[in-house]
């Protein structure tokens, strides 16, 4: 059916080979963590409310708030955020149906419902503001306390009802009432309900079956059955299976190999084969590897070098790759990636929730992590 390529007859190396897509890191790129600059960058971000760029990203404001809060907490600077302002904002974004929107006047969606829950748990679990809560790490009541405290902000029962109501007969989740199905939403739903200790509200068995039906020949996962593997989706599916303690379904050797092959000569990781490296994938890939116990399969030093080189040494903040414009999204995932890599002075991050580990522990949530 197919003719043998000429290469078989001609022992010259193939000339048609496409060069590897990658970037080169300039010698002048930063090579230490500019933590103070990132703190000022994030702290100032929320102050520029009239900025064109700020307005343009209004449709994902709630996630932006979660990214900022988490990045700041990981960098020991959460006290520089406006707690009351954020909580007030979150409250105003909850709708009658229970779902939470990206911003005031926008429509509710699972993506922003999870971000809102992550943001408010961060603000309610953490000193310096939570001094009114007894910080007994072993107390089983902590979870309850912290939720009660937050009750005045978000109607948790309605969040649960909204989230559970988006589950479909096949176990999948709509992102909102308009019917888009995606394994990202399976993660959002399960992560959100597990943080609220309300997984009983959904059919977890069906939810797992749906996610497993999105598994691919390379061991990865896509957005829907039949969809190509993508590191972002893999992170969501692995995270969801981890929360529900079903990681035994994962082909760890195959997936781990595919994931560590995302690392390019520059040290950066791409999201799928033949794509450019990107700092946010240092998070999706790395966190997935951490959960399946194979973090050591990538070259940590080279990845740290890549993330550090993606910092802007003038404005602060981290970009998708060296030389590009920074944003809070890549700043969080850069910092969180460095945390997983054991970079000093950054708080430990939980690989499943992308929240500081100490918050996850205090909530008494224990996602499965393979060793």
């Amino acid at each position: 059916m197919f003719r043998r390529p000429l290469y078989m007859l001609d022992p010259e190396p193939a000339t048609s080979a496409a060069p590897i897509k990658d970037v080169t890191i300039p010698d002048t790129a930063p090579n230490t963590l500019l933590m103070d600059k990132h703190i000022s960058y994030i702290a100032a971000y929320g102050d520029k409310k009239d900025d064109y760029e700020y307005c343009l990203t209004e449709y994902l404001r709630m996630s932006g708030i979660y990214w900022g809060l988490t990045a700041m907490d990981l960098m020991h600077a959460l006290d520089k955020m406006q707690r009351d302002e954020v909580l007030d904002f979150v409250k105003k974004c909850q709708h009658e149906c229970g779902g939470i929107s990206a911003s005031i006047g926008h429509d509710p969606h699972l993506l922003y419902t999870l971000s809102a829950i992550q943001a408010f748990l961060t603000l309610h679990t953490v000193p310096p503001w939570s001094s009114s809560i007894v910080l007994d790490h072993r107390s089983d009541h902590y979870h309850v306390l912290c939720l009660y405290d937050a009750m005045d902000t978000i109607d948790v029962d309605r969040v649960v009802k909204y989230t559970a109501g988006l589950q479909q007969d096949d176990g999948s989740f709509f992102g909102d009432k308009w019917g888009e199905v995606d394994t990202r939403f399976s993660f959002c739903a399960v992560a959100c309900l597990s943080l609220l200790n309300r997984l009983d509200a959904i059919d977890t068995e069906k939810a797992v079956d749906f996610v497993l039906s999105c598994m691919n020949f390379d061991g990865g996962f896509g957005s829907r059955p039949g969809s190509e593997s993508h590191s972002g989706q893999i992170y969501c599916c692995i995270g969801m299976l981890s929360i529900l303690e079903k990681l035994h379904h994962v082909n760890v050797d195959m997936l781990g190999w595919w994931l560590c092959e995302r690392q390019l000569p520059s040290g950066g990781l791409n999201g799928r084969p033949e794509k450019l490296p990107d700092v946010c994938y240092s998070w999706w890939v790395l966190a997935s590897l951490k959960v399946i116990g194979k973090l050591h399969w990538i070259d940590k030093k080279k990845l740290i070098h890549f993330i550090l080189a993606s910092q802007d040494d003038e404005t602060g903040g981290i970009a998708d790759r060296p030389g590009d414009i920074v944003d809070p999204f890549h700043t969080l995932f850069g910092v969180a990636g460095l945390s997983l890599l054991g970079y000093e002075d950054i708080k430990t991050v939980n690989p499943v929730y992308c929240m500081p580990e100490y918050i996850i522990r205090r909530l008494d949530v224990q996602p499965q992590i393979l060793s």
């Binding site: 190396p13 449709y59 929107s101 990206a102 035994h248 084969p273 399969w297 060793s371």
Partner: protein, 534 residues
């Protein structure tokens, strides 16, 4: 929300402007959908059709500006599903166009799968589409991926171990060979090749049984991790008496390859016993006889040498694999530094005959580390896996000792295949962390001297363990670590050492050469005295 047509039109115009600049503004797509639903209720079908056709051309403009917006693609599907006469075939043409422009656009591929379903396009036609795509550019991961979904639909054959008709498998191998001979550094074809040769999906069956009389346990190893009760049951009979025991896993997980049951029948009795284990599947039951005054007995499924772990690599017939190996070795001669070729040669050798190819395999792994140093740890773990597999392959059926000392191991795998072992020697390797060792229910003597272990977390509830040696490691907080083995409520200050009760038979513990030994706390003294006692 909408009051009149004027309002509708004005709203549609404004949101259209905003969305062409910023298609991720999801609330605006919702606004348009609400508007269309309103229009749908108020106008005739022809008018709705016209409105929706206009929307589709607007969407095509949006996609040209930003072909990777979730919102735009989802809205397009919604419009098609809500218009009176959707032309799904036209949507296929649209997909072709966009995939022409960017053959990796996964949004478009996903939309295409929706279109294919709605337009009743056959898997055969789609397979041909991927063939054309691949022939025009081999380096196309998306097409190879799609092929992996279509091939089983078109050429599936469940009577074959690969799940596919053999002549098709061979012609598919030719296609992949064309790809990797054209561009041997392109990973798409290599990942596909790995999948194509396929793993065996083995039926659930018994792999091993271990009976320990004094501990009163029956340990059953299964062919794959299983959630008992949910998927199957294990029946247990002593003599003619059916027991209905509770099965547990060593580490409390809900799913495992190894299941344990505790039964008094064993420990209260010293007579000869016939113990029968049966899975609630078609797998035949296995009976083991525990002789009078014997303390333990085991059964292991027997394998032809070199086949024990083959199912993890390939299900293809040997002549197919041999042919592949010959071809790959030719490519290796042409491209001696190519890591994909090296890795594939290794897999093929392991699938064909792991024992006789052992040395070559290790040479190739060393070469891999040289040409692809970024993934050194991956290759070292792979090598450890091969070493362990080969050791387990070549052990005599009744062996109760496995010696894996001095092998350079960086990871421990297949502990579940060591259920019946009494002595496991893993000393003088490079192990930094261990998986949960709960599978080693039969192990009496465990040697981990001279590794790089920093915690003792793995030693949990090893019910047969009598002697544990972890000299010359990096254990700093052995005591607290061991304490963690017990639930918090079991820890009281005076009985801290009771923590070791999780391994109830442990009497000898060797800890020399660990940082923890420098701390002369009472507890450490006691641990040391345990050591001296023997």
């Amino acid at each position: 929300m909408q009051q009149n047509d004027e309002f509708d039109n004005e709203g549609l115009k404004v949101t259209a402007e905003l969305l062409s600049a910023n298609p991720d503004f999801y609330t605006l797509w919702n606004y348009r959908r609400k508007t269309f639903l309103h229009i749908k209720d108020t106008v005739a079908a022809e008018e709705l059709q016209t409105t929706m056709l206009n929307e589709l051309s607007f969407l095509e403009q949006c996609l040209k500006i930003n072909p990777k917006s979730y919102g735009t693609w989802h809205h397009r599907g919604w419009v098609l599903e809500n218009m009176p006469e959707p032309d799904w075939k036209n949507e296929l043409r649209l997909c072709n166009k966009f995939l022409e422009f960017d053959e990796r656009n996964f949004h478009c591929w996903d939309y295409r799968r929706l279109v294919v379903k709605e337009a009743n396009i056959t898997p055969e036609e789609e397979l041909q589409f991927t063939t054309n795509k691949i022939e025009s550019n081999f380096s196309n991961y998306s097409s190879w991926h799609y092929r992996s979904k279509l091939l089983p639909l078109v050429y599936g054959d469940n009577s074959q171990p690969t799940g596919m008709k053999e002549e098709q498998l061979i012609s598919e191998c030719m296609l992949v060979q064309n790809a990797f001979f054209t561009d041997p550094s392109d990973q798409s074809a290599w990942f596909y090749h790995r999948w194509l040769l396929g793993r065996v999906t083995r039926p659930l069956r018994l792999e091993s049984i271990l009976i320990c009389r004094p501990q009163g346990i029956v340990v059953v190893g299964l062919s794959h991790a299983t959630e008992l009760e949910r998927t199957t049951k294990i029946h247990l009979a002593v003599g003619e008496t059916m027991l209905s025991p509770k099965w547990r896993t060593a580490n409390g997980e809900s799913c495992s390859t190894v299941w344990i049951c505790d039964t008094d029948v064993l420990s209260n009795n010293n007579a000869t016993m016939k113990i029968t284990v049966e899975l609630q599947t078609s797998d035949p039951p296995q009976t083991v006889e525990l002789a009078a005054d014997e303390s333990r007995v085991h059964w292991l499924r027997s394998y032809l040498p070199g086949t024990r772990f083959r199912h993890e690599i390939s299900a293809a017939a040997n002549d197919v694999l041999t042919q592949e190996l010959t071809t790959l070795q030719q490519l290796h001669d042409l491209e001696p530094e190519n890591k994909w070729v090296l890795l594939t040669v290794i897999s093929l050798m392991r699938a064909l005959d792991p024992l006789s190819h052992e040395n070559e395999t290790f040479d190739y792994i060393n070469k891999l580390i040289e040409v692809d140093p970024m993934r050194t740890s991956y290759y070292l773990d792979l090598k450890s896996k091969f070493i362990i597999e080969n050791a387990l392959e070549s052990r005599p059926p009744n062996a109760t000792t496995v010696d894996l000392s001095n092998k350079g191991l960086t990871t421990l795998v297949h502990a579940d295949a060591m259920v019946s072992m009494e002595t496991v020697n893993l000393s003088h390797n490079s192990l930094q962390c261990l998986p949960d060792l709960g599978y080693l229910q039969g192990v009496r003597v465990l040697n981990l001297d001279g590794n790089k272990l920093s915690t003792c977390k793995a030693f949990y509830c090893l019910s047969s363990l009598e002697e544990l040696s972890i000299c010359d490691n990096m254990i700093k907080h052995c005591v607290t670590e061991l304490l963690l083995l017990k639930t918090v409520s079991d820890i009281s200050t005076t009985e801290d050492l009771g923590a070791l009760k999780s391994c109830t038979r442990l009497t000898r513990l060797h800890l020399k050469g660990n940082p923890v030994c420098e701390k002369k706390s009472d507890i450490v003294d006691f641990l040391m005295s345990l050591e001296k006692k023997c």
